[in-house]
């Protein structure tokens, strides 16, 4: 009899509290998930905006890297001088290009011991 009364006195309210807590937790969790989903979407929108910006910057870089721009960049005067400079890219003069046999250069002197298999 005494045992039953203790159970009622302690566990029943505890169960009620737990039940209520669970209910509120579920509601809170659900609202938090929804709120997180809205935040994710906001971040996705931000990313979309940044991607748009990135795409236009990449396009601009690609335009500027065109060979016509590389060979004939905007001309200007050299610093302090009067001479017009182009600073453009030119293809190498084939007459001034020589082809030589690729050979191993002299080895750098190593003071430390190196086992044969690592050499």
């Amino acid at each position: 009899m005494r045992k039953s009364s203790t159970f009622s006195l302690v566990f029943k309210p505890l169960c009620m509290v737990l039940l209520l807590f669970s209910l509120f937790s579920m509601v809170w969790l659900r609202s938090s998930v929804t709120s997180a989903a809205y935040t994710v979407r906001e971040l996705e929108d931000k990313r979309t905006t940044e991607v748009k910006e990135m795409k236009s910057l990449l396009a601009e870089r690609s335009r500027l890297m065109a060979l016509s721009n590389v060979e004939f960049p905007r001309q200007g005067y050299a610093q302090g001088g009067r001479k017009l400079v182009s600073g453009g890219y030119v293809f190498p003069d084939r007459v001034k290009v020589i082809h030589v046999q690729r050979t191993k250069g002299p080895e750098v002197y190593r003071a430390s011991y190196q086992p044969a298999e690592q050499r």
Binding site: V40, R41, E42, E53, K55, S68, F91, I98
Partner: protein, 578 residues
């Protein structure tokens, strides 16, 4: 224990009050219960639909065309995400000052904007495909009832470069020309719609899906560097000879990969609406012309293949002319007695006709077809024409004096180049192509170009013999010394063809097409190229007009590709600048 609101009392008046109060409370609960039943059960569908329309929003999955790259992965056609401004005239409210500011940003008349805002519709485009910076400036004006939609715009970062290859799209991204048109089914993709939840303040719930669908990327065989070199030199040639048009194609003679293809005049890919029809035309495959002397390789190769003459055979061209079917055909200069090699080297019409007469109609026709003339090359670009050559039974009395020297046949520059590539690669007819690979957005290859079974049209012996003869053309005594490149031997042939005067229906005396077609290095060909100059002024000969263009392009292209000079060792090379 008593419930709140239910009052118990011992006295009569209070009991009455209690009953009334309890009745009111119970009645209220019953009313609430029935109302809830009405909302939740009877009008369930109505309210569900209403909630759905308020909470669910349909969003489009944005579609983007695949990108186009050159063989080294450099951008030729990409997409930009731009903002389009719309408004709902019913909701739109803007003061005169705001409209004035808006018109100044959009660079239009305020009247035009006012007219759009006062239309009797629910949706009006104010302006489309605005830059992000412009859109930001408009956003700051806070115009009620207006908003932005992101739209894709095709952007060609290299502007006019490779315009006749890449092609262009219209304002609604519909394909119009070039690869954009030919490979549209690979480049475009389908979008679709997605339903997303939103709250009362309009915030949208994430779906976790990618809201963009992209088509396949295309990798071309062309090289931006080579394309640029070719276009730069064509521009110079066009100005120097005040010609009507210029065309050039560069190809790998072994694989048929087009490395560069250009025409002048040209157009800006980002502004195709401002281009004239003749600027958009890809003359290298859509225009036919009489090839003139460049066609002499057909009779030359046929004679060698058929072993028609002994090596010591000579041709008496000392008269400087020959009569065929009552028509007198002349040489540009009198040559005297020529060997077989000299006939090609000096481009003698008389000698070529003599060879042609020995070959006969049928063999000339058969070899013309073997070289692929009179049929499409099957290049993967739109608008290619087949050219034509009449069947032998329809030849006139003068045909035997015309066809061996490249008259009475219509060819495209690409067909001529392919014929010379066959000599360069040892006797195989290749299929020219421009797309190397098609890849899905996640990098998987869905198509990869490979050379189909090679079709041998000449024996290796004939091809090498013709190659040696074509080398003589560029050497001292030949017609194309202007095509010689320092350090590497060039093999090729000049062509100077007369155009038909539309008034007299005869060959014009002042309208010509000058051309040079060849390959370099002659003994180990890496590049085959044709240059065609339409109606040059001042000079007419292919050796004077077109050959120097070939030389300028070849000089830079060999340097660009690090192709060593003929006398360099070929293995284990290291480039060193003096």
């Amino acid at each position: 224990m008593s419930l709140p609101g239910l009052i118990k009392s011992g006295d009569g008046t209070n009991r009455k009050r209690t009953v009334i109060l309890n009745t009111i409370i119970i009645f209220s609960f019953v009313v609430v219960f029935f109302r809830l039943a009405d909302i939740m059960v009877l009008k369930n569908r109505f309210y569900s639909e209403k909630a759905k329309s308020q909470q669910i929003k349909t969003e489009d999955i944005q579609t983007r065309r695949g990108n186009i790259y050159d063989r080294r992965g450099r951008d030729l056609a990409i997409n930009l995400d731009l903002e389009s401004l719309y408004c709902d005239p019913g909701e739109a409210h803007a003061s005169t000052a705001t409209i004035r500011k808006l018109s100044s940003i959009l660079n239009t008349e305020p009247k035009a904007i006012t007219a759009k805002l006062s239309q009797d519709r629910r949706f009006v485009w104010v302006d489309r495909k605005l830059s992000l910076a412009t859109a930001d400036r408009i956003r700051k004006l806070n115009v009620t009832g207006c908003g932005f939609v992101t739209e894709a715009k095709r952007f060609y970062p290299k502007s006019t470069l490779a315009s006749h290859i890449v092609g262009a799209v219209g304002s609604e991204n519909q394909p119009l020309e070039g690869i954009e048109l030919q490979y549209d089914k690979y480049l475009r993709t389908t979008g679709g719609k997605v339903q997303v939840a939103r709250d009362a303040s309009g915030r949208v719930l994430s779906t976790g899906m990618t809201m963009e669908a992209k088509g396949n990327d295309i990798i071309l065989t062309i090289d931006e560097g080579l394309q640029y070199i070719v276009e730069k030199e064509l521009e110079k040639a066009m100005a120097a000879w005040r010609s009507v048009a210029v065309t050039a194609i560069m190809m790998d003679p072994f694989s048929g990969e087009i490395l560069a293809l250009a025409n002048r005049p040209t157009y800006d890919l980002n502004n195709i609406s401002g281009a004239d029809r003749h600027e958009v035309r890809n003359r290298s495959i859509t225009d036919v012309y009489e090839p003139g002397s460049t066609f002499k390789i057909v009779v030359g190769s046929a004679a060698l293949e058929e072993r028609l003459f002994p090596a010591s055979q000579t041709f008496d061209c000392s008269k400087g002319s020959i009569e065929v079917g009552g028509k007198n055909v002349r040489d540009a200069h009198k040559h005297g007695v020529l060997t077989f090699e000299e006939v090609i080297q000096k481009s003698s019409n008389v000698g070529s006709i003599m060879i042609g007469m020995r070959l006969g109609k049928d063999r000339i026709y058969n070899y013309t077809k073997r070289f692929g003339f009179g049929e499409k090359t099957a290049i993967d670009l739109p608008g290619e024409v087949s050219g034509w050559i009449r069947r032998p039974e329809k030849w006139s009395a003068t045909s035997l004096g015309a066809i061996p020297i490249g008259q009475e046949v219509a060819v495209t520059p690409l067909q001529v180049l392919r014929a010379y590539a066959a000599i360069a690669n040892g006797g195989y007819l290749v299929r020219p192509h421009i797309v190397a690979e098609i890849r899905t957005p996640d990098g998987q290859t869905v198509f990869s170009a490979h050379q189909e079974e090679k079709q041998r049209i000449l024996s290796e012996r004939t091809a090498y013999a013709m190659r040696d003869i074509l080398k003589l053309v560029v050497e001292e005594g030949g017609t194309a010394t202007g095509a010689a490149v320092q350090g590497n031997k060039v093999a090729g042939k000049t062509g100077t063809a007369q155009l038909i005067d539309p008034k007299t229906r005869r060959y014009s005396r002042d309208r010509f097409i000058s051309s040079f077609v060849g390959f370099v290095p002659a003994d180990k060909p890496r590049l085959a190229m044709i240059v065609v100059v339409y109606e040059p002024k001042g000079q007419i000969y292919g050796g004077v007009v077109a050959a120097p263009v070939f030389k300028s392009v070849a000089d830079q292209a060999l340097s660009y590709l690090d192709i060593p000079m003929d006398d360099s060792p070929v293995k284990n090379l290291l480039l060193v600048s003096r």
